[in-house]
Amino acid sequence: MSIKSDLIERLKDKEFRHAYLAARIQKDIPFQIRALRKKLGWSQKELAEKAGMKQSRISLLENPNHEKGYQTETLRRIAAVFDVALIVRLGPFSEVVDWTENLSPESFTIPSFEEEPFLATVKVSPQSLEHEAEFDWATTILEAEARIDDAPSAMTSYPTARAA
């Protein structure tokens, strides 16, 4: 069986699937924060200063065994420091399966807004903003996608970033 079908089989147990969801949140967030901080070469103290928090709080946020959960506002502040999105919403378990299946090193070193080739190449003129209802977003997006055809594969790892 593939990784995906193995996981789906185990998720058929309701108690396990909700435990797995909790575990994913508890583990993924600390590893993302660690990876982003290291990517920028910051110490925990530096991140704490930028986020207006204590270093001890960053240490807890980076601890995958910290069992008290996360406040959305705390994560939003961390996301703002890294200039990445925070996506909090209810969703289907199939997204959890896809996330697990497609985990890669890039799942943790998320690009900031400025680093996203897709967003960086979309050009919006002032005139188009005045007539937003008439603006042909579909064509603009297709043109932008065409421009980044040869760009690094980073975008393919972040399907949620496009929706955010």
């Binding site: 069986m1 396990f16 435990a19 575990a23 590893f31 697990t100 090193p105 943790f108």
Partner: protein
């Protein structure tokens, strides 16, 4: 891209020691272990906070490492070693850890024994399902 592939020690053909251990865990702990392994699989260099080498006592010089996680106040450990091949990690035994003591108490000795068996091809392994 996965950097690591995990393998489980097989007691006998058809008896996966790690699977038996994970099946015995409370479901939240089992879920934690699986989620952690899925992340470690794509993490090139592991952090000491998650995986560390056992350096003292009977483990000294034996190249045994422990993967660490905690759920509901219980510290869990999965002991293993790098290998058999590059980019592989073999899981040998699961246990709990409290105040410097492992449960089962002979977990480290068992890990060393199983590592020897795997390295001398007297013990079998199979790929761990993440």
């Amino acid at each position: 891209m996965k950097h690591w592939k995990f393998f489980d020690f097989m007691r006998n053909p058809g008896r996966n020691a790690m699977e038996e251990w994970t099946q015995s865990l409370p479901k939240p702990a089992k879920a934690d272990f699986e989620a952690l392994l899925s992340i470690l699989a794509v993490t090139k260099t592991w952090d000491d906070r998650d995986v560390s080498a056992l350096r003292g006592g009977v483990a000294k010089g034996k190249s045994i490492l422990e993967i660490k996680f905690k759920r509901a106040g219980i510290q869990y450990r999965a002991l293993g070693f790098y290998g058999l091949n590059r980019g592989e990690f073999t899981l040998l035994i699961g246990c709990t850890h409290k105040q410097r003591r492992y449960n089962p108490t002979n977990a480290i000795e068992t890990a060393i024994d199983r590592k020897n068996k795997v390295e001398t091809r007297q013990g079998g392994i199979c790929e761990h399902k993440i």
